[in-house]
């Protein structure tokens, strides 16, 4: 027997104390949200053999304003993590060196681009290991606890938020600095190309003419806290993770498992589907993902709830996606405005889903964020005022 109802009543509330998005379209949450509201996308066409043998659409940092530090102490991946955490820590006024504060890092491939740029490095194995990067970031800010690293494909960002929330609710820590980042290089790009999964145009989530994903890089940080001084901020009400047990790279045919994760999330949060005001979908714009997601949204009774995918602005930012898209959706809650799904024109999925097509002012209280990934994993999390 499950005991989620007890869960809500006995667990301390988890507040979002601060956040940051460090992306090709902006270096703060406010800047990112303003630009996304203006319909600005980071996706551009690149003709760069370091990325791809053919021209390709990606959302990457402009190399002229590279984020890599001058002394090359930190890799691009680590520099992104540090830049994002730094801004969020300043906003939250949280002491990273406090023993009640933990750092959680989310990434799918971390420093993997070093295989391309520095393959002969003697310490390559250690430099690529995600725990090395996490330790460097922790050391930079003086975190005293060992950092945690989540690497669970494209649900990593949501899972890192859930992991942080649970560690706070168990009383082990008071603050969790949750940061995610991924860098786009030939390694990842060629892999998705080999799957024929990359769109030749900027991605078109849920559209009838969608032909695949567009990749993007970026970082984002969400600082969670149970400290009462943040009462009144947006809360993480709960979340759940499930596995399709069907295929390692293809999504479920029915959407049942993602729908189960959504329903468990709602139960844990003490909510019903009618309470959800906005669904921030994964919406990668592959044929199978969007179809599965639409089925799951319908199964969970959310067909009429306004839904969007933010992949048209950022591309698929992999281990950062769950964080970037959650933070943008939280801004939507704060500003009472739903963002359109850039790239979407006409519905191209078989189950009903209410894809938002224009900037829509609406009183919003609660947002559901979902993601799915290779390995058959699905995740959902709910945020509320």
């Amino acid at each position: 027997m499950r005991n989620e109802n007890i869960y809500q009543s006995i667990m301390p509330a988890v507040y979002i104390a601060a956040d940051n998005i460090y992306s090709p379209i902006g270096t703060t949450t406010a800047q990112n949200f303003e630009r996304v509201k203006q319909g600005i996308s980071g996706i551009k066409k690149y003709n760069d053999s370091a990325l791809s043998d053919e021209p390709v659409h990606v959302s990457v940092f402009n190399y002229n304003e590279s984020v890599v530090d001058k002394e090359f102490i930190n890799s691009k991946f680590e520099s992104l993590l540090i830049a994002s955490v730094k801004d969020a820590l300043t906003i939250a006024d949280i002491d990273a060196t406090d023993e009640k504060t933990i750092l959680i890092v989310s990434s799918t491939k971390g420093n993997i681009s070093l295989l391309e740029t520095d393959p002969a490095a003697p310490d390559l194995k250690d430099r690529i290991a995600l725990h090395t990067s996490a330790k460097k970031v922790a050391g930079h800010f003086g975190f005293v606890n060992q950092p945690l690293v989540v690497s669970n494909a494209c649900i990593s960002g949501i899972m890192a938020i859930l992991t942080g929330a649970r560690l706070l609710q168990s009383g082990q820590y008071e603050n969790a600095v949750v940061v995610g980042a991924d860098v786009i290089s030939k390694f990842v790009l060629s892999g998705f190309q080999s799957f024929q999964a990359i769109s030749s145009e900027p991605c078109k989530p849920f559209d009838e003419n969608r032909t695949g994903i567009t990749l993007g890089e970026g970082a984002a940080t969400m600082i969670l806290s149970t400290n009462a001084k943040y009462a009144g901020r947006i809360k993480v009400l709960g979340g759940a993770v499930s596995n399709d047990a069907n295929h390692i790279s293809a999504p479920s045919r029915t959407g049942k498992e993602l729908s189960d994760a959504i329903e468990r999330t709602l139960t844990m949060a003490g909510l019903v589907s009618d309470d959800i005001d906005l669904v921030s979908a994964h919406g990668t714009a592959t044929s199978y993902n969007d179809e599965m997601e639409a089925k799951a949204i319908a199964l969970a009774g959310l067909s009429i709830v306004p839904a969007n995918s933010l992949k048209g602005y950022y591309g698929h930012t992999l281990g950062a996606a769950g964080l970037i898209e959650s933070i943008i959706s939280i801004q939507s809650l704060k500003q009472n405005v739903i963002l359109p799904t850039l790239g979407f024109e006409k519905i191209g999925v078989s189950s009903p889903v209410s894809i938002c097509t224009e900037l829509t002012p609406k009183r919003l209280k609660t947002c559901l964020k979902t993601a799915s990934g290779f390995g058959g994993c699905n995740a959902a999390v709910v945020f509320s005022k």
Binding site: I128, G375, C377
Partner: protein, 210 residues
């Protein structure tokens, strides 16, 4: 309320020996990693064609899960009640290196799909129809304290009824898998689910002397 959970079964694969509950059940000393994994699969006498297309990391995890779960009543749980919390140090680097070699020629989708550590979790879920929560964490070394806290949280808050957790790592010739089945109820050979017991089973000091 503190609830005592139990390690009801465990499996270690290390140095070409497979142990079930600390008892050696198979060995093939001298074989290289791919040969050892294949001979271990043949020893199990099961037919699972998907095994052959897996990378070494997924093969190792899949074998450890097969041995771990044999003779258990894991099927008595509902699919969504069973989950996996796995950890390692090198993520999927063993396959990342192999995939990268293919990139200069023709990038291989069959290799690329294994360049994520949680694919092994997916393989175990597919084999056993486990649909509960799964998660993959990267640590420099096996972190028994984290496993104890995290899995207790999942079991004691009703998120899972049974959890397969542990460590599965492969890089070149180095590998180690230690999986634990953690359940609420005690079983014949169970030991308390504690940091101390996780560490002593992981280190397997007595067995390594054989």
């Amino acid at each position: 309320m503190y609830i005592n959970n139990n390690i009801t079964f465990r499996c270690t694969i290390s140095k070409n020996v497979i142990y079930k509950n600390e008892v050696p059940v198979f060995e093939d000393r001298g074989a290289d990693v791919p040969s050892f994994l294949l001979s271990a699969y043949q020893f199990l006498e099961v037919t699972y064609p998907k095994f052959y297309k897996m990378d070494n990391l997924s093969k190792l995890a899949w074998l450890a899960a097969e041995v771990l779960l044999k003779g258990t009543d894991i099927k008595s749980y509902k699919p969504e009640e069973v989950g996996l919390i796995l950890t390692n140090a090198n993520a999927s680097l063993d396959s990342d290196l192999k995939y990268m070699e293919s990139v200069s020629d023709i990038p291989s989708p069959a290799l690329f799909v294994y360049t994520l550590p949680n694919i092994m979790t997916g393989e175990i879920c597919i084999r056993n129809n486990f649909k509960g929560e799964d998660a993959f964490f990267i640590f420099e070394k096996f972190d028994a304290a984290f496993i104890e806290t995290y899995v207790n949280n999942l079991l004691n808050n009703g998120i899972l009824e049974a959890c397969i957790c542990g460590w599965v790592d492969v890089l070149g010739d180095d590998y180690k898998a230690v999986l634990f089945l953690v359940e609420k109820k005690e079983k014949a050979n169970s030991v308390q689910f504690s940091k101390k017991n996780l560490n002593s089973i992981f280190d397997n000091l007595i067995i390594d002397k054989i």
